[in-house]
Symmetry: C2
Subunit: 496 residues, 2 copies
């Protein structure tokens, strides 16, 4: 059959692509527009005549696909353009408009639906959307895809694991987890070698608090203003932003106390006023604070104060961990960059290279306070999760991401500081490693700049307040960092 590939892109093969469905006429028309530009109009008109009675969003049937093939043939659309159509249809056989409407129809609006970019394909630090536009990724999906938005190697490992053993609860011995354990030790901070696997960052924070409560035989927790730790009852209770707690009656929990970040007196005061023996922090505060790193003296003092009081420190490294915040090669976690080892650490996001896997990691001492029955997890540390985590960890070491982060961070900081000299409203370039931010003076100006960046093909990160945040993949190249700076300059030029 001529254009057999186009047929396969319109009518899916459940054996080769069980994740797809049949295309719609609406998507085919959209793809005509992407590939042919202005010339698509007349084709779409003629095609509609041919395909009368087919609802735009109905799944095409084989006979419809044959009609489309016949039309393409008759219209004399060149083979290279047909090939381009196939490419776009394989990434999505559904129109952008339908994708957006389906999400609006079925979503519980606990968050604002983002529809400016509908991504279909990742490649290194780049993302392509349904319309064929490419964006330089300076967000890494909140740091969950530090190794890029696509990962065939992890895909292959997951395929092998799925056809062998797709799941197993946390408390049973299995081989995928053993493989992981044989390799991870060297990446963990000294003494943190006890794992309790979970599935989301918030869930792991929730469980870390439970473990800390058991170990300290206390329930009061000191958290920090502008900290963010997640959304379960436990995790959101220690998250500063009252908007995240009040609707659920969790704004006045008697066991939670908020201290000022980078202010040791504030912590010491709360430790005196309350029975708190548990402190939770992000060493680099993320989305609520605009990537604000702790002062080294604060970390040193905090560790001393808490431990003198017989307390424990939970270090939430969900966003910072796995090389993003390296100060030197080998700093896999932000605490490494400060030379401080917490009592409990929460890891997640890029842990599995995109696969949902998180963990509480702790010392032997804290671990021994746990008893069978205290917790349990069906999916935590399942063989697929451990396979993804193993392959991701190997990639991180092979690609020397901590070394790369150090070099790229220097390059970006220098470039950002140069821009700050040019634009008076731009100041306070800060952060650690590739968890960077700079102030533009107001949240409005940040929003405008983010829109302009998108127009210049850059996806920046969720930002609140006057700081624009960037969290590029840790595999960012020198050329890509330079491109970002050039595009940022163009955006800032357009702004002023």
């Amino acid at each position: 059959m001529r254009f057999a590939k186009l047929y396969d892109a319109l009518i899916y093969d459940p054996k080769l692509h069980p994740e797809r469905t049949h295309a719609t006429l609406e998507r085919f028309e959209e793809v005509l527009g992407i590939v042919l530009g202005g010339a698509a109009g007349s084709h779409i008109e003629k095609l509609r005549e041919t395909m009368q009675g087919i609802a735009p969003r109905a799944l095409l049937k084989p006979t419809h696909a044959e009609q489309i093939l016949a039309y393409v043939d008759e219209a004399g659309i060149p083979t290279d353009q047909v090939d381009a159509m196939v490419t776009h249809l394989m990434y999505s056989e559904i129109s952008t408009a339908e994708a957006i409407e389906m999400h609006e129809k079925y979503k519980i609006p606990v968050s604002r639906l983002e529809k400016d970019i509908v991504p279909v394909r990742g490649e290194g630090c780049w993302i392509m959307d349904t319309r064929g536009h490419w964006f330089l990724d300076m967000d890494s999906n909140y740091s969950a895809t530090n190794l890029g938005m696509a990962n065939a190697e992890i895909g292959r490992g997951l395929y092998n694991q799925a056809e062998t053993l797709i799941s197993m609860k946390e408390d049973r011995v299995q081989i995928a987890r053993t493989r992981f354990l044989k390799e991870i030790d060297e990446m963990m901070p000294q003494g943190l070698d006890r794992f309790y696997w979970q599935n989301s960052g918030g869930e792991a924070v929730d469980k870390a608090i439970k473990l800390a409560k058991v170990h300290t035989q206390s329930r009061d927790v000191i958290a920090f203003k502008q900290g963010f730790h997640g959304r379960t009852h436990g995790a959101v209770s220690v998250t500063w932003n009252e908007k995240y707690r009040k609707p659920f009656g969790l704004h006045d929990e008697d066991w939670v106390h908020f201290a000022e970040f980078n202010d040791l007196d504030s912590v010491a005061q709360l430790m005196k006023e309350t029975d708190a023996k548990i402190v939770i922090l992000e060493v680099v505060q993320g989305e609520e604070a605009g990537n604000r790193p702790a002062d080294p003296d604060f970390i040193k003092g905090l560790w001393e104060t808490v431990h003198q009081n017989g307390g424990v420190i939970i270090d939430d490294e969900v966003q910072a961990g796995f090389g993003r915040t390296a100060r030197k090669k080998g700093d896999w976690f932000a605490c490494d960059a400060y030379g401080a080892v917490p009592d409990l650490m929460v890891i997640g996001k890029s842990f599995g290279g995109g696969y949902p896997v998180t963990a509480v990691v702790t010392t032997d001492a804290v671990s021994q306070s746990a008893e069978p029955g205290y917790d349990g997890s069906t999916f935590g540390g399942n063989p697929m999760a451990m396979t993804a985590a193993l392959i991701a960890a190997r990639q991180m070491r092979r690609l020397d991401v901590t070394g790369n982060v150090v070099t790229r961070a220097e390059q970006l900081r220098a470039g950002l500081n140069t821009l700050a000299q040019k634009y008076p409203f731009m100041e306070d370039v800060r952060g650690l490693g590739l968890m960077l931010a700079f102030s533009l003076g107001s949240a409005d100006r940040v929003a405008q700049t983010q829109d302009l960046l998108r127009e210049h093909g850059v996806k920046s990160s969720l930002s609140t307040g006057p700081y624009l945040r960037i969290l590029p993949p840790t595999v960012l190249s020198k050329g890509e960092a330079a491109q970002f700076l050039t595009r940022l300059e163009a955006a800032l030029d357009a702004l002023t």
Copy 2:
């Protein structure tokens, strides 16, 4: 090279099997024992002489693998036996003893490590362990692998998705989720078509409670004695067993009230005494109650009482859902079997055929009480999760699991009732669909029977109290159900 396959099983190829590592000598010796039985002893002795100085658990190097190949050749081990060794080594290149020790060394002991079966391979309703023993699976990993422990089709979909787009946060439009939404509608109870995706059952319960609190503008919750809902701060607070709450100071939450299951007066009384407008239940109570189904009258009355009071019902279908509890073909959820639609439903476990994906599902009315900022999720509903859920849902429909559950449940119930007539201590065969249990009079006798079942090659499910629980895959065949009954009879015979 002769025995090239054996070489590939000893020295892994990172391109084909990025999830593996090099084998150890200890595992090779274990595999010799599995394949050659008693004859392995002399080979192991001679091999050790040849391989002097190699630590039993060190990763073999290519030169070591060549030594092993030379030995196998020289010793004249027949090709079919070498092939069998390859099979076992490909499933695990690490010894059972090392796997167990690594888990013991690195686990936070919040649960008891299960090491009686170290699974490496699933096939339909069967599991093979590291020693090559097969077990009939009557547990489905707590109902998380209703479609079996291995799933190549989901694996293929995940591979395709991973090499395209491996992750995307909950609040961005994407194609994998759109594909899922286009197909799932017909499986959901009428009116439940708003989704908030999560990663574990406990997390989804936690978020369902948050949504219910917002919608009812209240915070008191009625849960049930012997109910189980998960382990986060929110989920464990509404879980009955005090052992799961007390260590964390969550045993005395003023917003949680426990009613008697199947006792409408108890609920009505609590609704009078408190401001509770939120009720959470499992329609079939699982692990803490021994698969106890609700009385139809109780469900009818509960729905009326709660709704008359302006309250909402959260139906936790994490273990019961996706066909396990079908009373008739098409009952995808336990509530369907009762003809009752809850206000919020929590789904999980087999939702993704083994992939960690869960959700809160609710009505348009409840959904509209949510506002952007109320929650957020990095991994919830990510493209891999949606791909797994889509393929799992298609498989469930294609295999007519609800129809199969109805037939198999009849067969098993009849068989169990016959056995109950033979063994006087066996009684009260109960449950719904393939969520079955029977009493053996004491927890001790349940434990003994589970040990005997394992000796007879059957893996039963976690059971507390005098009820032995069985939750076989929903794809259980007639022959497998018959085999279970035969093996159970043998176990009960050995018991008495």
